[in-house]
C-alpha cells in the first residue's frame, strides 16, 4: 500500500515535506514510488529483501536509516516479530517503508503539528525503544512459567523452552544493537547549535542504553540459569531412580526371608508348625516396614 500525505513534516530549513508511507508495497507501487522520489528502485527493494547493508546510508540526494521494530503477536504472550522499518529523506519527501503497518507512525507524523525531520526521527526511535521494553518483559515473564514447571519436570522440555526464550532475547538484543548504532550515527547529522535536538538525542540514547542493559542482564541471567535448569531436571529424574532403587531393595527382602524357608533341605519343625506361615510372613512384614521406615526417614522413598 502506498499513501502520500502532504505537508507532514518540516525540512532542516523549515520547508514543508510530504510523507510517503509504503506498507508491504507491490512491485508496481515500488516502481511508482521510486519514480516519484527519483531514486533507483533497488534502494527500496533491497531494504525490503533484508539484504545485509548499512543501517544508515548517506548518498548525494538521500539519507536512509533502517532498524527493527518489535511487533507483538496478537494473542500469544512473549511472541513477537521484528519488522524492519526503513526511513528515507529525499528532496521533498520523507518515506517510511515496512512490510507491516507500524501503528505509532500515524500518531507521530501529524500534518496539523509538523515536526522537524530529525526531531521526528528521534521520536520514532524513542517510540521503537519503548516498544522493546514491554516486549522484553513479556518474554522474560515466561521464565516464571518455566520455573514453575521445573519442579516436576523429568524431561528437558523446560530447558528447550528456556533456550527458545534465550533466542528471542538475543533477537531483541541484536535489534537494539542496530538501533544503538543508528542513534550514535545520527549524532553526526544533527545541527550543532540545536540544544533541543541534542537533548532529545541524549535522552533517546540513554533510554536505549537502559533497555539494552536490561535485555542483556535478563539474557545473561537466563544463560547462567539454563545449566541449573538442566541440573534440576537431572535431580528430578534422580529422585525417581532413588525411589525405584529403594523399592527394588524392598522387593528383594522377600527373596531371602521366605526363600530361607523354601529350601529343599530339612527345615526342622517349620514344615509342620501350624503358625509357620504366619510367623515367617509376619517377620517379613516387620522387616519390610522397618526397612521402609528407615528409607522414608532418609528421604529415599519420597518423590520430591
Amino acid at each position: 500500500m502506498m499513501r502520500i500525505i502532504r505537508d507532514s513534516l518540516l525540512s532542516g530549513n523549515a520547508n514543508r515535506r510530504s510523507w510517503m508511507a509504503l506498507t508491504d508495497p507491490s512491485t508496481s507501487e515500488l516502481t511508482q514510488a521510486a519514480a516519484t522520489l527519483d531514486i533507483p528502485e533497488s534502494f527500496l527493494r533491497k531494504r525490503l529483501e533484508g539484504e545485509a547493508s548499512r543501517p544508515l546510508i548517506k548518498e548525494e540526494r538521500l539519507i536512509s536509516l533502517q532498524f527493527q521494530v518489535p511487533m507483538p503477536e496478537a494473542g500469544v504472550a512473549g511472541q513477537f516479530t521484528l519488522v524492519p522499518l526503513s526511513l528515507y529523506f529525499v528532496p521533498g519527501y520523507f518515506v517510511t517503508l515496512a512490510e507491516r503497518e507500524i501503528p505509532f507512525l500515524n500518531r507521530l507524523i501529524d500534518p496539523q503539528k509538523p515536526r522537524k525531520r530529525w526531531e521526528l526521527v528521534l521520536r520514532i526511535i524513542a517510540e521503537v525503544t519503548r516498544n522493546y521494553l514491554p516486549t522484553a518483559r513479556s518474554v522474560t515473564r515466561e521464565m516464571t512459567v518455566v520455573e514453575r514447571d521445573l519442579r516436576q519436570a523429568q524431561r528437558h522440555d523446560v530447558v528447550y523452552r528456556g533456550l527458545d526464550i534465550n533466542d528471542r532475547l538475543l533477537a531483541l538484543d541484536l535489534g537494539l544493537l542496530q538501533l544503538e548504532y543508528v542513534v550514535s550515527e545520527i549524532a553526526h547529522f544533527l545541527p550543532a547549535g540545536d540544544t533541543f535536538l541534542m537533548e532529545l538525542h541524549e535522552d533517546t540514547r540513554v533510554e536505549l542504553s537502559q533497555v539494552r542493559d536490561q535485555v542483556d542482564s535478563d539474557q545473561a541471567t537466563l544463560s547462567e540459569l539454563l545449566e541449573s535448569y538442566a541440573y534440576v531436571v537431572h535431580n528430578n529424574v534422580n529422585h525417581l531412580f532413588k525411589f525405584m532403587a529403594a523399592l527394588i531393595i524392598l522387593a528383594t527382602i522377600p527373596l531371602f526371608i521366605p526363600g530361607a524357608v523354601a529350601m529343599n533341605v530339612p527345615l526342622g519343625p517349620l514344615p509342620h508348625w501350624r503358625y509357620g506361615f504366619a510367623a515367617v510372613t509376619g517377620g517379613l512384614v516387620l522387616v519390610e516396614m522397618l526397612t521402609a521406615g528407615v528409607f522414608y526417614r532418609m528421604g529415599w522413598l519420597k518423590l520430591d
Binding site: A52, L177, Q219, E224, E227, L240, T252, I257
Partner: protein
Amino acid sequence: MGCQFYDKTAGAWTVAEHYTADGLFLLTPEAVNRCPQLEAVLQHCSEQRLYCQNTEITLRLPVALLEQDARFGTVARMAHLTLHHTPRSLAILGEEALIPTLQRDWLGDLRHSAMDELLQRVLLSSIYSHERVARVLVERLQVLRMALKTAMGNVELRQIVVLNRDLGELVIALRETGLILRDALRATAGESPVYPLLDAALREQRRIEDGVNLIHQRYLAVTNAYNGIIQNNAHTVMKVMTVWLALLMMPIAFIMPWHMMTPLPLEHWHYLWFGLLAYVFGVTWLFARWAGKHGFFSM
C-alpha cells in the same frame, strides 16, 4: 581461470594476459606470477596484511565461506582476499572458489562504477560475509539443538562444539579486519577519496563484530545446557529400564511367601494357583498405573 578483466564496453568479463593497472581485475594466486607490477606489492601485503604507497593501497582481508565437511556437515572456512586499489584500478586476488561469488554477488550491479565505489563494495561484502556465515551457522546450531532431543551419543554435541568454534573464528576474523582497516585509515591522508570509504567500512566492521560477538557469546553460554539435555536422554532410558526392573521384581516378591515349606493359607483351595497369579499381577498392575501417572514410563 587466471586473470580476468571487466570490459566496460562489452559489459562482460574477459580473459586478460596480465594486470594493466587500469580497470577492474580478478586474479587467482597463480596468475599473479605473470603480473610483475603486482607481485612485489602482494609480497609486502602477505607479510604485513596492509601495504600503502602514495595513492596505492593493498589490503589482505579475511572472508568467511561455508563448506561441507564429511564429519561435521556445514562448517565455516576462512579465506583471504587481497585488494590492490589505485585511483584507476582495482585488482582483487582470491582463491578460485571466491571468484564466481565476487562476479555474481559482490560486483554484480556495480561493474560500471568508479574504483572507489567498487573498493567500498568489496570491503563491505567481505565484512558482511561473516554475518551471512554466522546466520547459517546459527540456523544449523538450532537444527542440531532439536536433534539433541533424542540423542544419546556425542555426534550432535561434537558438531555443536565445532559450530561454536567457527562462530568464535568469525569474531576473530572480524577483529583482524578491524585492525587492518584501522591501520589503513591511519596510513591514508584525510583528504584522500579513499578515506571516507575506509572510515565507513570500519564503522560497519565494528557493528557487525558487535553483532556476531553477541551471537557467539550467547550461544556459547548455553552449551552446558546441551550436555544436560544429552545426559537427560540417557537418564530417561535408565529410568524406564529401572521401572521395568521394579515391576518384574514385584510378582516375585509377592508370591515368595507361597514358596515356603510350611502349611500355607488356602493351600487346599482348588483355584489357589489362579488366585495367587491374579493377586500378584493385580498388585503389580496397580503399581504400574501409579508409576505411569507419575511419569516413570515417559520417554
